[in-house]
């Protein structure tokens, strides 16, 4: 590849980013408008069904739904540039306001879950790699495969059934007891079950990945050399193999941010946890266009940013990748 200056390199990235966001917004806009359903119902509730023809027309005009789709899209785009994303039909407030209230909850759940998943996955992966094909490794692998197969929503249901309904140890949903917002202990008690569901659902996927990455490294020639020099197994693994495996782990971490956040959406729904996930589900169901649009854009931008971060991390740590357009080992498995 011809050497290019840093400015050009980052310029290209930013241009690609803007293009992707633009395409994404157009796609989400048109798909959501084409889907059948009545946005008036979400604005006016049951009243929408009893409206006369004139009233309907007036309402549609007021919400700007009468123009052709491209016109609507351009108008939306123009307002979005000024930071005005419209109002939520259901909540009758600014979209940004509605999301702002909820986004913190999702970030807490997703963020803590993310850190736990990757910390534990690293430990578990290294442990399994050290004991490759021994009894402990096999048992952990077996349990891991089973847990990774459990559908997230079913796991959440089971957790609620066991810990909330039968044992009555923990609350079954929400982010805090009604009226008792802000208390630390209360919040933590509400977080335990959703967190458990998030972590168990994702843990093995990443632990297995790092295990296999390390085991792949152990097939390299330098390991044979170190072995023949008499270096201990564990120190080869920790000092050499792990070091080589970590870059790809970091890039996987970056890529998987949206993946894990997406996983929390489902769990939020089951636990009726007031986060973005529940909001996205509601807005998709009730055709709350403006809200849906911004939520999709948010998750889309997150995905694009994260995969770019992953690419940059990879290229920084391992310059060989820059010559290789396909990033191996990053496909979903």
């Amino acid at each position: 590849m011809i050497k290019q200056s840093k400015g050009v390199y980052y310029g290209k990235k930013i241009l690609l980013f803007i293009l992707s966001v633009f395409l994404l917004s157009a796609a989400v806009f048109f798909i959501s408008r084409l889907a059948p359903g009545d946005p008036l119902v979400s604005y006016y509730g049951d009243r929408a069904e009893r409206m006369s023809f004139q009233e309907r027309q007036w309402a549609e005009e007021k919400l700007g739904l009468t123009d052709s789709l491209p016109v609507q899209y351009i108008r939306w785009l123009g307002r979005a540039f000024q930071g005005d994303f419209g109002i939520s039909y259901k909540y009758k407030r600014d979209v940004t306001e509605v999301i702002g209230e909820r986004v913190g909850n999702t970030l807490i759940l997703g963020g803590i879950g993310f850190l736990l998943i990757f910390g534990l996955a690293l430990l578990l992966g290294v442990f399994c790699a050290l004991h490759e094909e021994q009894l402990t490794d096999r048992i952990i692998c077996r349990i891991g495969i089973v847990t990774s197969c459990i559908p997230e929503f079913w796991l959440s249901l089971l957790l609620i059934l066991i810990f909330a309904v039968n044992l009555k140890w923990l609350p079954s949903g929400g982010a805090y007891t009604v009226g008792g917002a802000g208390e630390m202990g209360d919040r933590i008690r509400h977080l335990i079950l959703p967190l458990l569901a998030v972590v168990t659902g994702h843990l093995w996927y990443y632990a297995y990945m790092i295990r296999n990455r390390i085991l792949e490294e152990t097939r390299a020639d330098y390991v044979l050399l170190a072995r023949s020099k008499g270096v201990k197994k564990s120190s080869i693994l920790l000092k050499h193999c792990l070091r080589n495996a970590l870059p790809s782990y970091f890039s996987i971490m970056a890529i998987s941010v949206p993946h894990i956040l997406g996983g929390t959406y489902m769990i939020e729904m089951v636990f009726s946890y007031p986060g973005i996930g529940t909001l996205a589900y509601e807005s998709a169901r009730y055709k709350d266009y403006n809200l849906l649009m911004v939520l999709c854009m948010l998750s889309g931008i997150g995905v694009i940013l994260c995969s770019m971060a992953a690419q940059i991390i990879n290229e920084r740590i391992d310059p060989r990748i820059r010559n290789n357009p396909i990033m191996e080992g990053m496909e979903e498995g």
């Binding site: 359903g37 929503f153 079913w154 059934l161 152990t218 390991v223 197994k233 489902m266 169901r285 995905v303």
Partner: protein
């Protein structure tokens, strides 16, 4: 030691010798295969097994715990869960298989097209798949399902299939880019072989083992997707029995503490998923086997 400076150490037993020492069933996923065969046979021969009519609403006996008459109990609409499991399993499995067949076909054709096109077109197609990959899968499915209207088995398989071909396409494209300059492909092209002829006769046999495990795992993902959708109430309606739609009654079951409504369909789902995963992992292992230097 014939050579003077031969490397001293244990000569690893050759692959062949080791294979001969093992029994035929060792290293093969026997248990998953047996379980899977049992479940598939049970679901497709459900008429012989079912003790009740799965769709019959027995309003006198709703939320009955498992007993002699209702082996797995009844759900909150009074339907016999034992019969529903086998009957609904058929729906779930069919959705898994149809969706996967669709995604595999689209993935292979798209990947092969992209792989055999000139550089710039390939780039465009690959960016396109990456953008699609970046949209959260469930969201895409929900959107498409909304466009198609009320869900039935075929429409839901179509939606799931059409949203899960991307990773297969990526692998196929990489393989095809490597294979397309081989002599036998060029010869076939020169002799007038069409795109599909070359794809089927020369390319597919070469990359099939690379994507086989992805295809198998796609079955799993499709079954999970269906159950998640139906659970949310966006997929199959409650009257159309599948493992997913059976679980959509679970909100109700939580209130009445009817554990069997949640646990039993979920266990069947889970066992099937684990077996399919094992099968996929076995294929993956067979595809890239290497020995450790450690």
């Amino acid at each position: 030691m014939k050579e003077q400076f031969a490397i001293v150490g244990i000569i690893p037993a050759s692959e062949k010798e080791r294979v001969q020492k093992r029994k035929w069933y060792q290293g093969k996923p026997v248990f998953p295969m047996v379980f899977l065969a049992l479940i598939i046979a049970g679901c497709f021969a459900c008429d012989l097994i079912m003790t009740k009519d799965p769709a019959y609403l027995d309003l006198k006996n709703f939320n009955v715990a498992p007993n002699r008459e209702f082996l797995f109990g009844t759900d909150s609409m009074g339907r016999d869960i034992f019969s529903m499991i086998w009957y609904g399993g058929r729906t779930s499995l069919v959705i898994g298989i149809v969706a996967t067949a669709l995604s595999a076909a689209v993935g292979i054709i798209f990947g092969a097209l992209s792989g055999s096109m000139p550089e710039w077109a390939d780039g465009v197609l690959m960016r396109f798949t990456e953008i699609l990959l970046s949209v959260p899968g469930l969201l895409l499915v929900v959107f498409l399902q909304a466009i198609l209207g009320k869900a039935n088995v075929l429409s839901i398989s179509f939606v799931i299939g059409i949203t899960s071909w991307m990773s297969i396409a990526k692998v196929v494209r990489t393989e095809v880019r490597e294979l397309r300059t081989r002599e036998y492909v060029i010869v076939s092209k020169c002799m007038g072989g069409g795109f599909f002829h070359i794809l089927w006769k020369h390319l597919t046999p070469n990359f099939i083992s690379a994507i086989m495990f992805m295809v198998i795992l796609n079955i799993r993902n499709a079954i999970v997707a269906e159950s998640a959708l139906s659970f949310m109430g966006l997929g199959l309606p409650v009257e159309e029995i599948s493992w997913g739609s059976m679980l959509s009654l679970s909100e109700n079951a939580l209130l009445t503490n009817a554990w069997w409504i949640i646990l039993i369909p979920g266990m069947f789902l889970l066992i099937t998923l684990v077996c399919v995963t094992d099968l996929g992992n076995y294929l993956r292992r067979r595809f890239n086997r290497k020995e450790s230097n450690l």
